[in-house]
Subunit: 153 residues, 2 copies
DNA sequence: TCTTCCATGTCAGCATTTTGACATAGTCCG
DNA sequence: CGGACTATGTCAAAATGCTGACATGGAAGA
């Protein structure tokens, strides 16, 4: 019994502009929730998983670059890194390789944990992707990208 | 795809940034940031604006319904409502009209503030919408919706 | 009717994230 | 060379959001 169904707005023909943000937020919230549930079994949070995934692909990233890649502040990324470091999933170089940036890289344990969790996350993404017609997927990705770019500057 | 890990990716992607989840998060983060900047001049935060907008469209909503509509917990919504109430932008009925739910409605000041801020928010959404081909907009909205629905249950 | 169940409002504690600030290291010109 | 500028790491504090818990009011079903 779910009566929380989206109540039809009084003005159906209302500007779609009003709803784009809502739909986007809704989709993002649903994804966040689903990922959270999927990752719980692996002892990871979404920000933690994001960091691991990014580091697996681009080893040696700095804390600040990681922050930008996960759309949070440097300070937030720092907290996440600290947690992952304490868990032995990644290591930070003691000395800066360039500038003040301290390169970060996964440990074997970190890679193992990431690979284990990846399946759960990919399952979530699959559910999401299969909900949209395959031929529209590329366009969807492109549109999300251009929208973000349009707002970024 | 050279990825022969324990779990195959849901779709070909050499790059994490190619994933739907990443793009979605990126777009949502960009929107959130742009709305935040736009609303700052009006003395409102994004959650506050969301509440006002929702209440303007559906007066008498309860705190819990408001929470679901803005994708946060009841507790978080409660804090937001308290702030808006202290600012005189909305009022909560003293007695429950039905069950324990306390109907909430905007005050004239709340409506005025909302109308003032709406322009700034619409400008942001316009920028976002104009970045994607008009003929794909409807499909984009529908796809965001179905994706959210696919993850919700 | 009564009993069980669900939704709501609310309190408390904790986790997460952001804002603000500062020192440091490198870069870009003058 | 030297100063302005930028980027990074980090600390402190506040804001924000969530989990857990509890009591209450209605509704559904035995």
């Amino acid at each position: 019994m779910e009566e929380h169904g989206p109540v039809p707005p009084p003005h159906p023909a209302e500007d779609v502009t009003e709803h784009v943000g809502y739909r986007l937020k809704r989709a993002a919230a649903a994804l966040r929730g689903a990922m959270d549930r999927a990752l719980r079994d692996h002892g990871l949070t979404v920000p933690q998983y994001s960091c691991l995934e990014l580091l697996d692909e681009r080893p040696g990233l700095s804390s600040a670059e990681l922050a930008r890649g996960t759309f949070v502040t440097r300070q937030s990324a720092h907290v996440v890194l600290r947690g992952l470091e304490d868990a032995g999933l990644l290591a930070r170089a003691a000395h800066a390789g360039h500038g003040r940036a301290l390169p970060v890289h996964l440990t074997p344990a970190g890679r193992e944990r990431l690979h284990a969790a990846r399946g759960a996350v990919y399952a979530v993404e699959s559910r999401m992707i299969e909900a949209v017609p395959a031929r529209r997927l590329a366009a969807l990705l492109a549109d999300l990208d251009t929208m973000a770019a349009a707002l970024g500057e």
